[in-house]
Symmetry: C2
Subunit: 140 residues, 2 copies
C-alpha cells in the first residue's frame, strides 16, 4: 500500500489523463499488461475482420508460434475479450471471435494504428537524427 505519497507534484487538472494527480497509473497499466504483449493486439486486429480458426490466425499473424498463439488466445478468452467455439467435427475445428468487450478494443487499436502511421515517418527521422547526434551511444 503506497499510503505515503509525499508531496504530490502540482498537476494542472486539464492535462492529467486520468483526472487524479495522486494516481498517475489510472489503470493504463492494466490494459498494457493485458494487451501490451507481443501478440495480443495482432490477434485482436485479425479477429476484427471476423471469426477465424486457429490455423487461419497463425497464418495471418506472421511469425507467431503455435505455442504463443495458444497462450495469447487463451488469455484473451480468459479476460472475456475473445470467444472460443469448438465444433465437434473430425478433425477438430475451433473458431475464435471477439466478444462485445473485445470488439470495443478494436477502436482503440485503430486509433493506435492511425497514430502510428501518421507519425511513423517523423519518429523514424527523429531516431536517425538522434543516432547521428549520438554516435556509438547505444540505447538498446
Amino acid at each position: 500500500m503506497s499510503s505515503t505519497h509525499t508531496g504530490v507534484t502540482t498537476t494542472p487538472a486539464a492535462l492529467d489523463p486520468c483526472g487524479r494527480a495522486d494516481h498517475p497509473d489510472c489503470g493504463i497499466r492494466d490494459v498494457l499488461d493485458r494487451i501490451g504483449d507481443k501478440w495480443s493486439v495482432l490477434v485482436v486486429v485479425e479477429l476484427a475482420g471476423g471469426p477465424r480458426r486457429f490455423r487461419e490466425l497463425q497464418r495471418a499473424i506472421d511469425g507467431i508460434s503455435q505455442r504463443m498463439l495458444t497462450l495469447t488466445v487463451r488469455r484473451l478468452e480468459r479476460d472475456g475479450l475473445v470467444l472460443r467455439t469448438v465444433y465437434p467435427t473430425v478433425p477438430a475445428q475451433v473458431d475464435y471471435r471477439l466478444t462485445e468487450t473485445g470488439a470495443g478494443l478494436t477502436h482503440l487499436v485503430k486509433a493506435l494504428a492511425d497514430w502510428s502511421l501518421a507519425h511513423r515517418a517523423v519518429i523514424a527521422e527523429a531516431r536517425q537524427a538522434y543516432d547521428r547526434a549520438h554516435p556509438g551511444h547505444d540505447i538498446h
Copy 2:
C-alpha cells in the same frame, strides 16, 4: 483519414482496421514496440501534466528504478516524443517535457485509460469465471 470508425466488424471481405487485408500489422507493432514496455506510457502520462525533472519523474512513477527511468526517457527522447533540456547549473538539472508528437500520444493514452477503467470490472469477472470453469488450468 476518412475511414469508418464504427461497425468495422460487419465488413465481410475487406475488414482490418488498417484497410489492407494483406497486412494485418499496419504499424500497430510499431507503437507497441515503442510504448508497450513497462514504463513508457507512465512517463508520458506523468509528463502530460507538464515538464518534470528526473527526480520528480522517479518519485511520481511508483516502483521505477533509475536505470529504467533513464532508459525509458532516453528512448522517448530518441523517438522525438520527449524533449530533454539540460541546465548547466550545479548540481546538474534536467527537465523533460513532451514534444508535439509526444503530446498527441496523450489522447491515445487517455482513451486507453478510459477503456481500462470502463471494463476493468467486467474483465476481472470474466477472469474469475474462467478460472472457476477451468480449475488447475494455469495459463499464466
